[in-house]
Symmetry: C3
Subunit: 441 residues, 3 copies
């Protein structure tokens, strides 16, 4: 099968550069906020996104049952530090919000270094970076710091303060729903729970927001639902409260990590052959730039774990650049604004817009004149002089008429014919205009 | 899987050479006739074929509805020429019947070269050859000529005459039906509408005729139906008037272009895995000579477009040597008797006879003694001394007994066992003779 | 997919070396006995095996109908020889029991060499070896001898004696049934009809016996049935009298030829994708030593022919080292104790034990908490600090929970995840212990 160059993505209203600037600016606003599973940082984040797109917020009380889990207490962190004997803050939450282990319980104590040591997390191989750690489901506390700082600590006693509280509150998530011609849905999920880490996942939140903003301006066949929620407990909470919606999801993607320098990675749905899998793979094969990675589903990673659990088995893949855990900056203080780039974000925006364009356009049509070929010439769709070859557009129409038996989608036909999807789509439109193809749905 | 050499095709009564001579002689008679979609040339052609095989002719009146089409007016062409100022015929239908564009409307006019020019068709890359063009579905006129002639034309006025008529008449097609033990049919279609072009399609018509003549002398399981009709509108017309027959078609082939120097090309049915696809591919893999091309179905080409439209989706492929459009002589005056050869026609005859032999023999049998192996020795079908190996024939019987559960055909068994189809067939005959295999149909 | 090294086979109670010694000792006892389809040699063989495992014997009278066959007369051989003119026994049954063709009818005659000649079987290519031949189904007689002996015979007359009888008696077979938690069965078949040939099939009988002995000491999910019977007529006889049992067979193997120096060969079941096929192939890919051969089913060989006939189509493959007919010693006097080795037998024992371990463990489980991931941490099955990777055991549990929808077996999950079966199995046990996985059967 030939793989013709894909037609350029021309449908984006904003120029690429403007999109890239907007993505970088939004990420820069989101970066400093102290996000966690719950609490102020998440609410401030969603307020910023809500300036750009219409968001509906949900607050689910602590203790609410969520399948095998329950919504945790809300965590508030005000300050956290370690002071040495001289009273100097040698580890200071105010300098970087990942210095404190997420969901640390409150503590005020003076400890010898040897007693403090088990509460300190570092990266010996990256001695200048601070790791990011959480303790959502076990009541303890800890600090993350550079290994170089740890090594500089002298024996003696240290004052340790975590000025936090764990109280009954709520888990906050937000949805942006863009209604379409049908109530069938396309679900796009991105996690909101990581604090000051840029690629993971300010980039995913920003991309989802600007893509939602662009889609809001367009006619839509499907209803598009963007969900902004914390990882794991957030997607579980959303699922548990939206099982009716889940039954209408036809395609979906988990979005995360789009600003790093790597090529795209697509992780297939658990089904492995869902339409979204075919669409993303088709486009990635035809996208300029470094070759994308296509990986099979596995039950670890981000929230595809929940959407693709056997009780849901949704047709959802995960789109990112370099996957989580596969770049050294992952879950460290090195995941900064300078780690990501405008150009990589622009490329991700163009790809996701193109994916959603094909998602919206792809469908299974039926030839209303299936016995023999209809006479295209009398409808002005075919050359009149016989004996010569056919044009690409005529070829596309012949393929569409031959294959449209309700079992094959436009993308299937594009792949089988080797013709570009855009040509197949516009030819299908012509054939629908004259009634030779219809959508049975 | 081993691929043993196929057994030689010994079943052809006539020697190969005699068949080749007969094919060339028949093509030589057919070549000069002025065929088109309709009219005298087609009727004269069918009269010649009718000398060799029993043909039933159908005349379908102009204007008859045929699905999305209708039967066109009948075209009669008596003369056509372009005269220069000196009165010399510089383009003359009497010299070659492709000089006039097929279905040209009548014209008598004197035109300046610049006004005449849009009606003239040439092949700049092949300046000595005349192209072949038609205008079946648009009422206009034109001439085809060598590019060298065109370039020699001087500015000035030319007398143009097309002495044709387009009148209510009929579309003519012919069928040769050879009844078999069952009313299930094998459909062989070849187009009759091309004028003085040898490979396309005097060769197809001649091959179909001589193969029909040979099959008429043999016992047949299937009923064989050879259809001789014009391309597109002819196959559509036949389909529209034979939907009952269509429902009985179990295998089929479109036949065209067998005399050119190229290797065989088989184009799969739309289904892609119909029995005819497996049979032809199996034999082509085992046929001597240059490697054959196997190509997937596409919805352009010859009448397989109609037979494989989604409303019929017949198990029909297309057999040819070099496909249409893939040799420079295609649809030009260079497709002459000297372009084709006796040897290539002989090879095509041998292959088609062998295909139909396997088509007729292939079937799904059922083992009447399916629990354990039956005792072949007591039926004289197996060696009596144990401890040694098995012969090929014994092996064939064991495969047949093991695999004949009504789901696998003799060809499936030949392929899985790596044993020659002829051996499988004759071993199946032995097992049917003693009742161990039966045909459930 | 990665192929991790398989976990060592640690489950064998006896040390490998002890098993090898025991196998060699048992084979040495079985080797001299004059086995055939029926008679004394078989009964003595089964008596020896019955010292080690509980055996139920069946005696099926001569003449009993068995599908297309009937149980043959019982053959008793007391003596057989050819004497030359000097009275010297030049061929002597007392020296090797394969000197007489199996099932030879009685004869006492003096024949010229030329009349004797058609009754003599040799191996010209292996002039010192005696071939093994039978004439079960044709009443005749013959001798097998070395080609060198044959060539030394001078023209003249020879005294020929076969002191045998063919009388109404019985066909003897034995079963060792080890009941399990379910009445679903694993069927292991090995043939008993070959006389003094070590690899074929004293090795198969010995291996089956010692494996049965070991399995008898263990908890078993399946019921295991070991059948010791003559080839072809023996498996047919067993099948004809056990059709109810047959319907409960979930997995099976024909066992033969484990002592020769070659690598393992597994011949797939007729189905080709039965669970036993997947299990054996999975383990052979991960077994140390020379690469095993995996071959597709074919309807000749040993008793898999009967078990995989279309009327039964059992999920049974055949396990051996070098297949029958593929080593020169096959069916000759060279198949002696020195042809086989303790080490090869040990390897076969380890493999078969491991196969049965996986057969017994493999099953399709169901996640009782299929919506989203259950919270493993609160059950002590997962690390408590977030932000780091997962361990192999955690990974195994995630795979099990994600894939256990009742359609995928533990082996399927091991293969898809690339994790070792042993890890998958023990992780599944943990998840069953806390009720997250259940066996729906």
């Amino acid at each position: 099968m030939v793989s013709p160059a894909v037609s350029p993505v021309t449908a984006i209203e904003d120029s690429s550069a403007a999109v890239g600037d907007a993505l970088m600016a939004l990420i820069a606003r989101l970066y400093p906020l102290p996000r966690s599973l719950t609490g102020r940082g998440v609410r401030e984040t969603l307020a910023i996104l809500g300036e750009l797109i219409p968001l509906t917020l949900s607050e689910v009380p602590s203790g609410s049952p969520v399948y095998d889990w329950e919504v945790p207490k809300e965590w508030t962190i005000r300050d956290a530090y370690i002071k040495d004997a001289s009273g100097r803050r040698i580890v200071d939450y105010r300098e970087h919000n990942i210095h404190v282990v997420g969901y640390s319980v409150p503590v005020r104590a003076t400890l010898d270094l040897e007693d403090l040591r088990p509460h300190l997390h570092t990266l010996p191989d990256r001695p200048d970076w601070i790791p990011y750690r959480t303790t959502y489901w076990k009541e303890t506390w800890g600090f993350c710091l550079s290994h170089r700082t740890l090594e500089s600590l002298k024996p003696g006693s240290y004052e340790v303060v975590v000025d936090s509280s764990l109280t009954d509150g709520a888990l906050t998530y937000a949805e942006c729903v863009l209604p379409g011609a049908t109530t069938d849905e396309v679900l796009l999920f991105t996690h909101t729970c990581h604090p000051s880490l840029c690629n993971d996942n300010c980039s995913g939140m920003a991309l989802a927001t600007l893509v939602a903003q662009a889609l809001a301006q367009r006619p839509r066949r499907y209803t598009y639902r963007f969900v902004f929620a914390p990882g794991t407990i957030g997607s579980l909470t959303w699922l548990s409260r939206n099982e009716d919606t889940v039954s209408r999801v036809r395609h979906g993607l988990v979005l995360t990590g789009f600003g790093d320098p790597g090529p795209f990675t697509y992780k297939r749905s658990r089904r492995g052959d869902a339409p979204i899998d075919h669409i993303v793979e088709y486009l990635l094969e035809r996208t300029d730039g470094p070759k994308a990675n296509i990986v099979d589903f596995s039950p670890y990673g981000y929230d595809e774990r929940q959407f693709c659990s056997p009780g849901f088995n949704l047709p959802m893949g995960r789109l990112s650049r370099t996957p989580y855990g596969c770049y050294p900056q992952y879950h460290t203080s090195a995941d900064t604004l300078s780690f990501i780039s405008k150009e990589q974000l622009e490329g991700a925006y163009a790809l996701l817009m193109r994916i959603l364009e094909v998602v919206d356009a792809d469908r299974k049509l039926v030839n209303t004149c299936p016995k023999g070929e209809p006479r295209l010439g009398k409808r002005g769709l075919f050359r009149s002089t016989g004996g010569t070859g056919v044009s690409n557009r005529e070829e596309a129409m012949l393929w569409l008429l031959n294959q449209s038996d309700g079992e094959r989608s436009l993308l299937d036909i594009a792949k089988r014919s080797g013709l570009d999807f855009t040509l197949i789509k516009s030819s299908a439109d012509s054939l629908m205009d004259c009634g030779l193809l219809v959508d049975p749905a």
